[in-house]
Symmetry: C2
Subunit: 290 residues, 2 copies
């Protein structure tokens, strides 16, 4: 069984940039001419069908946020499953950005469906290990990847995540240390664990520091582009092989056009090319963690 992290590492070592395209399909940001008159869920799937080939040619990973599907009810959930399947069929590694977090049998119910639909998922840490354990079981048995929220990209991330919990350590630091512990038994042949961490690309200083607390974790770095994060500030997240971090951009790629633009797909392809070109700023120096 090839795990999520092994497949990701192989693609990066094979020459792909460690880039992930986020898919947050807001209806008011879809191309106006695409599947006009169809249902919301149908329009989202139609959009995915158009953009997935270009995405799969350019980057190894795809991160749909389920909220933008779920808000359309059951048809939206069905569209989420369809889009994930289409993306996997296109060769992409799919990270289900579901941010689930519950306990015991409830967490298991979430893990069962979301580790089946996607190759990896995002989860909340607030409930402690009980909330993560069922996902670790799927990491062990199915090779699923798990990204725990550690330092999120939003402005109010500081509200709780920066609270000092002793010895100058923040809550985010404590969660990072726990993530390292949770993932210790699940390390792949590249030295990385199935248990990764979400760290906002909007916090390069914290990123360098958290990298040292998370020596075996893949870091999922959202917040590049519209939220202000810049690829050139993220060098410390990568090891000398270029592994260990995956930079995610959403709006900057798939909302780079106006709904009225007739050439929207050309614009998406240009934005994809610009996204991966941005990684040139990292090499050299693609530094090992400090």
């Amino acid at each position: 069984m090839m795990t999520f992290t092994e497949r990701l590492a192989e693609r990066v070592l094979g020459g792909m940039r460690p880039a992930c395209v986020g898919f947050d399909p807001r209806l008011d940001a879809l191309p106006g001419t695409l599947a006009a008159g169809a249902s919301a869920a149908e329009r989202i799937v139609a959009f995915a069908r158009e953009v997935l080939p270009a995405i799969a040619r350019t980057v190894p990973a795809f991160k749909p946020n389920i909220a933008f599907f779920e808000c359309h009810g059951a048809a939206g959930f069905d569209a989420y499953e369809t889009v994930c399947r289409l993306a996997r069929d296109a060769g992409l590694l799919v990270i289900g950005d579901v941010k689930r977090g519950d306990i015991g049998s409830t967490a298991r119910a979430y893990a069962e469906i979301h580790c089946a639909i996607a190759d990896a998922v995002t989860v909340h840490p607030y409930l402690g290990r009980d909330g993560v354990d069922p996902f670790l079981e799927f990491a062990r048995s199915k090779g699923c990847g798990v990204f725990v929220l550690v330092r999120t990209s939003n402005p109010s991330a500081t509200e709780f995540q920066d609270l000092v919990v002793g010895d100058g350590e923040t809550l985010a630091d404590a969660v990072a240390s726990a993530v390292t512990g949770w993932g210790r038994e699940l390390v792949d042949r590249f030295g990385y664990s199935a248990v990764g961490a979400v760290v906002g690309a909007t916090w390069p200083t914290e990123l360098r520091h958290l990298r040292s607390r998370l020596p075996q974790a893949w870091l999922l770095l959202p917040g590049v582009g519209a939220q202000g994060g810049r690829i050139e500030d993220l060098a410390a997240a990568f090891d000398a092989r270029g592994l260990g971090a995956l930079v995610s951009q959403s709006r900057g790629v798939l909302q780079c056009f106006s709904p009225t633009d007739r050439d929207w797909l050309d614009r998406v392809e240009s934005a994809l090319a610009a996204f991966v070109a941005g990684f040139a700023a990292l090499s050299p120096p693609r530094c090992p963690p400090t």
Copy 2:
């Protein structure tokens, strides 16, 4: 517009016990004879149709956990909407136990659907105010209730929630104080805010302490019964009118039978009666918060 908290207060002041029945429909715990051969989603809806009349006669509130629906995909999501609608039609106040937590437009997408399906929802605090704000907008405009996870009922709740963040204050305390601030502008005519808190009934000592930090919050108290919480230990959560807390029991009511029991509905009705009878232990003394 009557808000969620006002409707809840009126029912309790009208004589109903501040009790909530949690609905965690695990397939292996459903009555074996009910809708045998039907799909998972259909079996769950059939079970809800059978138990909702008795629940609505006995308690004011109903808390379905969406994980046990979502694990069946789109059909499960559809069943969740159906069960919530049936419960509201039966006169119950529905708390959607969705534990969502994301930011910005993503959180808004979650709030749009979940505040439409249910009367109140549960949310994660880890992302700070950005993740809660869109729900507050629905509290303001639609009277939706919002329960923020503060001190959860599970054993590993202590892992992060008990970390000391300064001045002897724990992370749960800090989240509680934030909840009080977030809800300050949304206080109803009974003195309670639309922004409540989830505090596990498994932690009576912490409950007394958190009550003082959350003077205007309805406390949702899960964990009675199977998880070990006891109603008689929860007196400190209520004010002198008997308002301010809602005790939730799930497995002890709706999983009180074996799938082979032919008299399962009688057993559920007996368990419901025992649940509300348990509140007699609270009065007197139904103490105001200390």
